[in-house]
Every structure is written in structure tokens, then in C-alpha cells.
């Protein structure tokens, strides 16, 4: 096949599977004019859903960044019993369906769970836990290869020069992994913003209280408020695109 033929096939495939559906969302959102769409995404429920989505990501992503960097350093630099187990466990969220994660959290934190406690399930803490769980691996998996590629000589050199553990981390390790870390944070954010299944299970989906953007979209759709559903989808899509753009910028920095 000619090169042009290949390109057409690839673009056609992408267009059919990605561009057309996403384009349709935009089209349907603004079908009844911009004003109607704007009104749909500025209702108190929509605003709260937006706020909740951003709030959850703002807690989950930094938590994952901190844990991710610590876990990556442990896995790349240290030997300890259970290292392989930890390594395997970190990938678990990739493998397990989000809805299973949600149900598992209910089993642990719910009314009859091991750590039965009110105020976790069907409220913010539970939703944050679910989001942390499903976006856990990204930072670790982005940082480990950088640490392995750079080796530990710069860190050893810094310690022979008198740097203590914190100084070595702050002045050598962190600047070394900064692009890998940034990339992991971006991926983690994208995942956190778009999560549906796990959060759906633990949230209880109380409109105006425990409803994130994705849950709100589904809620509107089920209530036959198509403009509301599509307009909220557009907001989600724009958020995702902003994340994607950041990712492209970062890729250019690291390349």
C-alpha cells in the first residue's frame, strides 16, 4: 500500500473511532445554542459536580505524587524483602476493573466492613480513596525508568560532598526525575478527572453532594436532559484536552 493510502487508513480509523464521536458530543451540546449549553453547566448541581471533581483530583494527585516518588525510589534504589510483591501490587489498579475497586472499598470501609466508619463511604473520603487507588501506578511507573537510566552516581557524589539524605533528594534526585514526575502527574490527573466506575460505587451519587462530573453526565443522560449531559461532557472533554496539551508540552521538553 502507498504511503498516502496508509495515512488515509490510519486517519480514517481514528476519525471513525475518536473524532466523530467526540465531535458529536460538541455538536449535540451546542445544538440549542451556546446560551442553553452555558445554562446547563452553570446549574448549582453542575457547578458542585465540577468543584467536587477538581477537589478530589487536587487531593488524590498530590497524594499519588508523594507516594509515587517514595515508592519509585524504594523500588529503583533499595533492596528489601517484599520488593517484588510491592512492585506487582503497584500495577494492580491497572489490572482490576474500577467497579471492583469501588466494591472492595465498600467491603473494607462500609457499614459491615473491617474499618467500619461513618463518613467514608457515600462521602468525600471514600471518593478520594477510590480515585487514589485507580490513579496510583502512573507516577511510580514514570519515575522508575528515569531513576534507573540515570543511575545513583550523582546521588553518591552528592553524599560524598557532605549532602544529607534530604539535601541529596531535594537538590539531586528531584531535579533529575522532574520531567518523569511531571508526566506521571499529568497522566494521574487525566485518570482522576475521568474516573467513573470506582467513584460511582462508593459515592452513593447524591446529587449536589457526592456527584462528580462523570456521575453528573450520566445522571443528566438518564433523566433525558441531553443538552445538560452533552454540555457537561464538553467541560470534561476540555479539561482532558488541557491535560493532553500539558502532556505534549512536557514531551517536547524531555525529547
Amino acid at each position: 500500500m502507498s504511503r498516502i493510502g496508509l495515512r488515509t487508513a490510519a486517519l480514517g480509523y481514528l476519525a471513525a473511532l475518536v473524532l466523530v464521536p467526540v465531535g458529536m458530543v460538541f455538536y449535540r451540546a451546542f445544538e440549542h445554542g451556546f446560551a442553553a449549553a452555558w445554562e446547563a453547566v452553570t446549574t448549582p448541581q453542575a457547578q458542585h459536580a465540577f468543584y467536587l471533581t477538581v477537589l478530589i483530583a487536587a487531593i488524590a494527585v498530590p497524594a499519588n505524587a508523594v507516594f509515587g516518588v517514595i515508592a519509585a525510589i524504594l523500588l529503583a534504589r533499595r533492596d528489601f524483602p517484599g520488593k517484588r510483591l510491592l512492585n506487582a501490587l503497584i500495577d494492580l489498579p491497572f489490572a482490576v476493573s474500577p467497579i471492583v475497586v469501588g466494591l472492595a472499598l465498600i467491603l473494607v470501609w462500609g457499614r459491615d466492613g473491617w474499618f467500619a466508619m461513618t463518613g467514608v463511604i457515600f462521602s468525600l473520603p471514600g471518593m478520594v480513596l477510590a480515585t487514589i487507588f485507580i490513579s496510583l501506578p502512573f507516577v511510580v511507573r514514570e519515575v522508575i525508568p528515569v531513576l534507573e537510566e540515570e543511575g545513583n552516581e550523582q546521588e553518591l557524589a552528592a553524599s560524598t560532598l557532605g549532602g544529607n539524605a534530604w539535601q541529596v533528594f531535594r537538590r539531586i534526585t528531584l531535579p533529575t526525575i522532574r520531567w518523569g514526575l511531571a508526566y506521571g502527574i499529568v497522566l494521574s490527573s487525566a485518570r482522576a478527572l475521568g474516573e467513573f466506575g470506582a467513584v460511582s460505587a462508593v459515592s452513593g451519587r447524591i446529587s449536589g453532594r457526592t456527584e462528580t462530573m462523570t456521575l453528573y453526565v450520566e445522571d443528566r443522560f438518564q433523566s433525558f436532559d441531553l443538552t445538560g449531559a452533552f454540555a457537561a461532557s464538553v467541560v470534561l472533554a476540555l479539561l482532558a484536552m488541557a491535560v493532553l496539551a500539558t502532556m505534549l508540552l512536557l514531551q517536547r521538553r524531555t525529547a
Binding site: 553518591l156 557524589a157 552528592a158 553524599s159 560524598t160 560532598l161 557532605g162 539531586i172 533529575t176
Partner: protein, 320 residues
């Protein structure tokens, strides 16, 4: 004075160090010489505190530092590939040791400037390590290690990653620098010429053991054993002994203790002439002589000559 006492270190299956006890006098320039995998780099890292020995002690001026972390030992360590801090300028690299010690800014600036001048990098203080040549990176790493005024400077294969010309320049430069700043220096090398040229003391290490610890000429002239003899210079085998090829005498007439041999090959290497000889009985051997000597003997391939070992105290060890 650095004293190492009975240090052993095991890595999984291999014994990297097997009870070594060399010492390094104050202000000296000492070479740890040996083949790769012999344990010399491990010994350097044990002295630095980058590797903990399984048994034995390391003493700096009588203080036991065996359990002290590298950052408390007052050492300067130059890694084989220099380990430059890639995200920092040359200036910040050199300043690192002073910055983490929270020295006042003006003092740091002054000291960094002095050091960059000393290593000839003051023009490049704002560059990143990636913009430097190998030799410049090496000198930056040296300046960085010297900034903290270490009790001992440790260099791992300091010239290994450089091409031959730069290596020779830097060798001469390091020698002068050592005279200038007088800091106790230990470097690792597998190149016997480098060790002979630079060091005041050579520690020959093989299979995790110290084979000999002496001045370069001692190691060359009075090698402790067959290994040292062969490692620090060329050897040839005569009458069950190893001797230096330049200690073989070639005579045109029969002489005392000389035996007959035929010249099988002649190599003219500028000033030096190397003759491969096959005696009537015994192993083939090699003799090294000057061009003038070869011309006087009118040496030619196929010629019958008489050879013997120079009776004037040559270095020799029994061969196994």
C-alpha cells in the same frame, strides 16, 4: 595517614577483597594498580565509605571511620565517569559541597572562583556539564571534590574515559596539582605506566589481595612475585625464571653462562629494538635493546648469537 586493616568484602559469589591491609601516608600520591575485577575499585569505595566492608577496619589519622557514612569522612571522590550534576552549571557543581554546608555566599563565590581558576575552567563557569569536553568534565569533578578541602582525595580510574592525548596532558597536570595542593591522594588504575608515572606508592591488587605495596621502582625492580613481575612490565622466561627483556644480554662471541640462540625475528620500534630468540635448548625468549646496541652487533634475522641474563642484579622471579 589512612590505614586499612584486614578488610574483606564479598559480593554474592565473588570475594572482591580478601583481608587487605594497605596504608597511605599523609600527602602521598598512591596508586591502586591491578587488573579489572581485582578489587581495587572496591577498596577505594570502602575507603570512601560508599561500600561497607564485611570485616576489618578503616582508620583516618587513627580515627576508626569504618561505620561513618561517606559524608562525614571528609573525602573528595571523583567517579570514573565524573558523575556531574547534569542540571547544574559548572559553578553550582563546584559549589555543591559548600552550599550544603551552608557557608556564607561571598565565601562560596570566592572559593568557587579560586578553584575554577586552579583547574582552568573559570571561562566556563556558567556552562552545563553537557557543554564540556571529557577532560573539562574531569577537571570540574576534581574542583568539586577539592572544594570541601578533603582530608583525602579519591579518584576512580581518573583517566580511563579519556582519549590518549588528553590522558597524558591530564596526568602531567594532576601531578603538578598534587605538588601544588598537597592533599593525600589515592587513585585506581589498571594502567601500569600511569601508576609508575604518577604515583609515589603503588599498591598492586589482584584477586582481592594486595600483592605488593611499595614505591614504583621497587615494584618494578623487586617484584614480590610472578604476578607483580608480569603486571608492571614486560617479561620473558629464561631457565625457569621470569626476567625483564631489557636484562637479556646478546653477545656476538661465546661468553660466561651464555647460551647459543638464533634470532628468529627483529622488530625495530624507533629507539627500541626487540629481538625474538630461539635457544638451542629451552623456551623461546625476547630481548629488548637500544638501536645503537643492535647496530653494533649487526643483528639480523637468522643470525646465531649468544645470550645470557645481565648479571648486574636484574629483577627476576621463579616462574611456575
Amino acid at each position: 595517614m589512612i590505614r586499612v586493616e584486614g578488610v574483606s568484602k564479598q559480593f554474592e559469589e565473588t570475594k572482591a577483597l580478601d583481608g587487605v591491609s594497605p596504608s597511605v601516608p599523609d600527602g602521598s600520591l598512591t596508586a591502586l594498580l591491578g587488573p579489572s575485577g581485582g578489587g581495587k575499585t572496591t577498596l577505594l569505595r570502602v575507603i570512601a565509605g560508599l561500600e561497607a566492608p564485611d570485616t576489618g577496619r578503616v582508620l583516618f589519622d587513627g580515627d576508626d571511620v569504618t561505620r561513618a557514612p561517606a559524608r562525614h569522612r571528609g573525602i573528595g571522590f571523583v567517579f570514573q565517569h565524573y558523575a556531574p550534576f547534569k542540571h547544574m552549571t559548572v559553578e553550582d557543581n563546584v559549589a555543591f559541597g559548600l552550599t550544603v554546608r551552608k557557608r556564607p555566599k561571598p565565601e562560596i563565590a570566592r572559593r568557587v572562583h579560586e578553584l575554577l581558576e586552579l583547574v582552568g575552567l573559570d571561562q566556563h563557569h556558567q556552562r552545563k556539564p553537557s557543554e564540556l569536553s571529557g577532560g573539562q568534565r574531569q577537571r570540574m569533578a576534581l574542583a568539586r571534590a577539592l572544594a570541601v578541602e578533603p582530608r583525602v582525595l579519591l579518584l576512580d580510574e581518573p583517566f580511563g574515559a579519556l582519549d590518549v592525548r588528553v590522558r597524558e596532558e591530564l596526568r602531567a597536570w594532576l601531578r603538578r596539582l598534587h605538588e601544588q595542593i598537597d592533599v593525600t591522594t589515592v587513585f585506581v588504575t589498571h594502567d601500569q605506566e600511569e601508576a609508575m608515572e604518577l604515583a609515589e606508592q603503588v599498591v598492586v591488587i589482584n584477586h582481592g589481595r594486595v600483592e605488593q605495596c611499595a614505591a614504583p621502582h621497587e615494584v618494578y625492580d623487586n617484584p614480590a612475585n610472578e604476578f607483580v613481575m608480569g603486571f608492571v612490565g614486560p617479561v620473558t622466561r629464561v631457565n625457569g625464571h621470569l626476567v625483564r627483556p631489557h636484562d637479556i644480554q646478546i653477545l656476538s662471541q661465546p661468553g660466561e653462562a651464555a647460551k647459543e640462540a638464533v634470532v628468529t625475528r627483529l622488530l625495530r620500534l624507533g629507539f627500541e629494538v626487540r629481538a625474538e630468540l630461539l635457544p638451542a635448548e629451552g623456551d623461546p625468549l625476547i630481548a629488548q635493546l637500544s638501536r645503537a646496541e643492535a647496530e653494533e652487533l649487526e643483528l639480523a634475522e637468522g643470525q646465531i648469537v649468544h645470550v645470557r641474563v645481565d648479571p648486574a642484579q636484574p629483577a627476576r622471579v621463579p616462574a611456575h
